[in-house]
Amino acid sequence: MSDPAQTAPRPRRSLLQTDAGTRRRNAAERRFRTYGAAAILTAMAALAVLMFTVFRDGASAFVQARATIPVVIAADVVDPQGNRDPAEMAKILTMSYSRLLDQALTREIARSGIQVGGLTQRDITGFLSAQARADLRRAVLADPSLVGQEIEWRMMTSSRVDAMLKGRITREMAARDARTSVAQYDLAMALRDRGVVRAGFNWRFITAPDGSDSRPEAAGLGVAILGSFYMMLIVLVLALPIGVAASIWLEEFAPKNRLTDVIEVNISNLAAVPSIVFGILGLAAFINFVGLPRSAPIVGGLVLTLMTLPTIIISTRAALKAVPPSIRDAALGVGASRMQTVFHHVLPLAMPGVLTGTILGLAQALGETAPLMLIGMVAFVTTYPSAPPQGLFDPASALPVQIYNWTQRADPAFFERASGAIIVLLAFLLAMNLIAIWLRRKFERRW
């Protein structure tokens, strides 16, 4: 830069001794590296905290405290006519069965000699789940011969007692909460110590339909899982063939012209359209215009199909592009038509990549919430949709929407349910991703 003759006498330098400038630059280098490492650590820490909180909050949803006590199905309560006619007995409402359960629990307390001061009737009624009476009534109506007998009956405790046994509600909290009491807490502990109340794996959480606001312990994911499954089925049946067909045309046949350009631009733009806009499309086009029913898996499936199509097309095109031209040349060389070349040679070779992309697209669709909320899937659905094809038009829920639904309920027990549902959702996603990775490993071919 400047004339060497004019510079001041050069300072003595040694390669073994770093001068101040080099030290500064090395320090800057180290700092920069640290920023990079810190960024990665931050991202991984965020992932770790996220996973930790989900599992901390949600794991207990898979466990449910149940009480096993002998219940006398008193004939004068459930069958006042005495003729064991299920039609007559169906007139007896659930509230009467509640009395049976209360009596049974009181007897059980007396029999095991538990002394709890200040136990009120409300504590006893509130000890067992409101679902327990309904279950008992259903069992009696299904089998009228139970009337008049004493049966060992296993039933869910209420969500608050469940929370006491899980340690989420402590004795102090029970004293402060108006809906529980210290006496109820002591009763729960005493019954647990005697083995009357036991925690077990909660299958109901996975298979049962949603429960109402007042009985979180009965709420399950059955309808949501089934609804999500139906939608994934529709997405698979529609998006895979359409996506593959579109990719084949764009990658193998499309001439370079205006139309092709327009399609390409459309696909890349659709991939970036917010998912909620697809929900608006579903509401305006499929429900209001075509007249399909609200909260039906068919509408959700169609919306998610349109949403995942760009993903599938992009990955399928990459898979087709990865098949070397020599394959095509060889097929054309022995007299195959272009169509035969693609369908007999290129597509089979690209299939592992296509399937991997499709599974990842499905995984994306499975976790999508916002568009489904707009097409009415937030509705409270407690009946399972029937088998397809009719079931595709029945109201259903979906896993992510069910999670949202539960976060909107007042009872804190629903937060546990929501976190538990997230574990189920993540388990499905993990399984799908593992299948995709396995497919890629097993069939991947290097040319």
């Binding site: 800057a28 920069f32 965020a46 764009l250 733009n269 970036a272 917010p274 760009p310 919430t369």
Partner: protein
């Protein structure tokens, strides 16, 4: 006839057509298939396609056109299914009649399949059209009920289903932009530094762990992030930042939603930046290193400036994601429409209000419901604009090195 029975009948006829066509082609040449132009299976396929496609097209068109014709009663819909079945039968007959040894069945089949492929590609255009049309039409009916300038420039959002509601978009737009800004403030530095570290410094082993971990972050559904904001991050920010500073006591806040959305965007920014940084030619790095720069100097003075347009594009794409994100803001940002600078207050966004106005019972003649479509149109235009701009910048940058 239910649609399903019709479908089964049509597909059954198509299957029958395949078998009959194949057999007839073989029979015509007395078993010597060398005399046929096309192999027998192609003759069968053509008959099957002729039997299946026209009635299926009729059913789809009929289903779509039904709502369009004002006078169409249920009877017209009932006529559709028998008509389709008849059409399938006719196609079967025509297909069988056309078979002859010299008939180029393969070429015909391939032409039909080619058309089907094009049709599938056009679905992308149809989807875009569907989105634009549904947004524009419903927005138009909204603007007939509510003045557009009050929607665009109104600063008050108070929907009342009794009438006399104020539907100004500005508070929602402010909340959207504020939250997106905070999200980018979190995601861009972390994502960018993660990408730089991964592509320039990390050893193979570090990359083998860090890259999948960050990709997992990308695969987590947004509802999970939403619950994370609601249950964990919101109370944390409220108890440790907002309340000690005396800035608010709401769990749902701009800061909560922004922070969680930032975490969600990290993998997005980092994978895009990773591609862009890797696309910078190695010769540029070698030149800088050869002149005595340290690696960080090379990155700061050579790699980043060379990759800058691409990085800007990536940031714009991330911004478009942030603006359109729904579940995190529904659960983490609150529902209060207000314009305020305090990041610890609850605010609301366009997407939250779209969900709010369109879930539950809707009256599609009231401005309170229809406003969601106008909000959707705003959202669509904003994200589309950002995407087009980002793609333009990225494409322009690519031209420099190729």
């Amino acid at each position: 006839m239910s649609p399903l029975t019709t479908l089964i009948i049509i597909l059954g006829l198509a299957g029958l057509g395949y078998l009959l066509g194949r057999r007839r082609a073989v029979a015509l040449v007395a078993g010597d298939t060398r005399q046929l132009h096309s192999r027998p299976a192609y003759h069968g396929w053509l008959v099957a396609l002729l039997a299946a496609l026209p009635p299926l097209g009729l059913l789809v068109l009929g289903g779509l056109a039904g709502p369009l014709i004002p006078g169409a009663t249920h009877g017209a819909g009932a006529l559709l299914a028998p008509a389709a079945a008849l059409l399938a039968l006719a196609g079967l007959g025509v297909g069988l009649a056309r078979i002859s040894p010299g008939f180029r069945a393969r070429n015909a089949v391939e032409r039909v399949i080619g058309l089907l492929l094009i049709l599938c590609s056009l679905i992308a255009i149809a989807t875009t059209l569907g989105i634009v049309l549904s947004l524009v039409f419903e927005s138009a009916s909204f603007f007939r009920l509510y003045p557009w300038h009050e929607f665009l420039f109104g600063t008050e959002w108070t929907p009342r289903f009794g009438g006399g509601s104020k539907l100004g978009m500005l508070p929602l737009l402010w909340g959207t932009l504020y939250i997106s800004f905070i999200a980018l403030l979190v995601a861009v530095p972390i994502g960018l530094f993660a990408a730089i570290y991964m592509s320039e410094y990390a050893s193979r082993r570090v990359r083998a762990v860090a890259k999948p971990a960050i990709e997992v972050l990308a695969g987590i559904p947004t509802i999970v992030y939403g619950l994370f904001a609601l249950v964990t991050v919101g109370p944390l920010i409220r108890d440790w930042l907002a309340q000690p500073l005396g800035l608010g006591d709401s769990g749902a806040s701009v800061a909560t939603a922004g922070l969680v959305m930032g975490i969600m965007l990290i993998p997005f920014v980092s994978s895009l930046s990773d591609d862009i940084i890797n696309a910078v030619p190695q010769s540029l790095r070698d030149g800088a290193l050869g002149l005595g720069s340290t690696p960080s100097e090379t990155i700061r003075h050579v790699v980043i400036p060379a990759a800058l347009p691409g990085i800007v594009g990536a940031v714009l794409l991330a911004a478009s994601r942030a603006i359109g994100e729904t579940m995190i803001v529904v659960l983490g940002a609150g529902a209060m429409a207000r314009i305020s600078g305090n990041p610890f207050e609850a605010m609301t966004t366009i997407t939250v209000k779209i969900v709010g106005q369109l879930t539950g019972d809707n009256d599609f003649n009231s401005p309170e419901t229809l406003v969601a479509f106008a909000l959707g149109l705003t959202l669509f235009v904003m994200t589309l604009g950002l995407n087009v701009l980002a793609l333009y910048i990225v494409r322009k940058y690519r031209e420099q090195y190729e």
